[in-house]
């Protein structure tokens, strides 16, 4: 099966991007230098094509009920233009995916747009429609992944950059996680003050066929998925399929450090399992660490205690471009999770000393 391509594939190729497969999509990983792109986002502004992210729209009389029962957060707290980070879990409370849920302006009734990770759109469409049918709910679920291109404009200058392209939208008045339809370079886009970098910024969803117009109007350094990954690691943000995965790294929101997206006062698939775990406490938890010795932690490396006994696993790691220090994320038993706890990471069989640090790694 061929890889799916973002609408601006050729634009990125002409700009000198190299590409990587991610979630079944062929996406820019780097234009010139991951370090330089990372620095642009931390210091000024960068733009990422994240059109590989999934989009599903849920509408109809029972849209709220369906969303409430398939996500862990409380969607009834959302006003039109609000959004929330949330988790999608199975019966055991294990995270299937994480997502941002937007409440769009009402169309007679409430309408939601949610953003699962790349390559999860068909799976989530099936999940939403099969539960809808099982529960007899009256809701329309549409997989609009290839109707929306998505760009993330991120960095301290992101507001200026997006405002230049959308001067009438009063984007500076939006607080974090607020969104609005806005005219961006003559194209109606859904513009949200959200992101995955730890910086201020906006995610702009624009009609697939207008992607080039909107991309060209947003003045920022083009950035690939390489720097997107290093930026989110410095913040300790989870990467679906890597820091959790229902098959290879089955974790609940409590283990993964995102218990704040679980509202046990709502009824959702997996709720009872999560309530039991919250009462019992978790055995293992998601932590950050920095290496004290030279080396680069990588996904899959073992974590050991001070005696060299394996206690956990690295799920993400890199050389932090901001700190020029090796940083990592992973799971350890809770008794090793306190800051300053000394652990080690096995890099090609050799123990490298490390110390637990609660992310974010940068201020």
């Amino acid at each position: 099966m061929g890889l799916r391509k973002p609408p601006l594939y050729d634009v990125h190729a002409d700009a000198g991007a190299t590409f990587t497969e991610f979630g079944g999509w062929d996406m820019p990983v780097e234009y010139d230098s991951i370090k330089a792109e990372h620095a642009a986002v931390r210091e000024s502004v960068g733009i990422f094509d994240v059109s590989h992210m999934s989009e599903l729209e849920v509408s109809g009389p029972d849209a709220t009920a369906l969303m409430q029962r398939l996500t862990t957060n409380d969607v009834t707290a959302l006003e039109p233009g609000d959004s929330q980070y949330s988790a999608i879990v199975n019966d055991e409370g294990v995270i299937v995916d994480d997502t941002v849920v937007y409440r769009l302006p009402d169309r007679d009734e409430r309408v939601y747009l949610f953003i699962p990770n790349a390559g999860h759109d068909e799976e989530m469409f099936d999940r939403w429609t099969s539960f809808r049918d099982e529960w007899g709910l009256d809701a329309t679920v549409e997989n609009v992944t290839e109707e929306w291109a998505m760009f993330a404009v991120q960095g301290p200058d992101a507001l200026d950059s997006v405002t230049d392209a959308a001067p009438d939208a009063a984007l500076g008045d939006r607080s974090k996680f607020q969104a609005t339809f806005a005219d961006v370079a003559g194209v109606e886009c859904w513009v949200a003050r959200t992101g995955y970098t730890g910086e201020d910024g906006f995610e702009v969803l624009c009609p697939w066929d207008d992607a080039e117009t909107v991309w060209a109007a947003l003045d920022a350094t083009p950035c690939g998925l390489g720097s997107r990954d290093t930026l989110r690691m410095e913040m300790g943000y989870l990467l679906s399929g890597q820091d959790f995965d229902p098959e290879t790294e089955p974790r609940t929101p409590y283990e993964a450090g995102i218990g704040f997206v679980v509202d046990l006062d709502t009824e959702f698939v997996g709720r009872d399992a999560l309530e039991r775990q919250r009462e019992a406490g978790v055995d293992e938890t998601f932590v950050g660490f920095t290496l004290l010795d030279r080396g680069v932690p990588r996904h899959g490396y073992d974590i050991a205690d001070a005696d060299g006994e394996v206690i956990g696993v690295v799920t993400s790691g890199t050389m932090s471009p901001t700190l020029s220090e090796p940083i990592g994320l992973g799971y350890v038993p809770v008794e090793y999770a306190d800051d300053e706890t000394e652990i080690s990471v096995l890099v090609r069989g050799r123990e490298k000393r490390a110390v637990i640090v609660t992310p974010p790694f940068i201020n």
Binding site: V29, E30, S33, I34, V296, M319, P321
Partner: protein
Amino acid sequence: MFEIPDDRKYLESHEWATTEGDAVRIGISDFAQDELGDVVFVELPAEGDELAAGEEFGVVESIKAVSDLYAPISGTVTAVNEELFDAPELLNDDPYGDGWMLEAEPADESEFDDLLSPEEYREQTE
């Protein structure tokens, strides 16, 4: 488009070797550093360690990749560019100069003849 100096020989795995007096100096090519992207870590043998032609002698890591290094020739390591440990970006900035990795005393100088000429290496990278 990639620099391939004529004063040295190459391995298919993108290392180069050149003679410096009695020693052979070893590094990676411009093509290799560009493929890797920003280099952030280098692991090299110590002085006195033995190299075996075609065998792994170290590791170079960029943000996105981990790559083994292969010895162009057999011999004994006589010098290590320790500057790379603190400044691995020298591999990106100057792969044929300040980004050199090792010097070794060759065990068998005829192994040098088995390496790719600049022309052969250029064909491979095109």
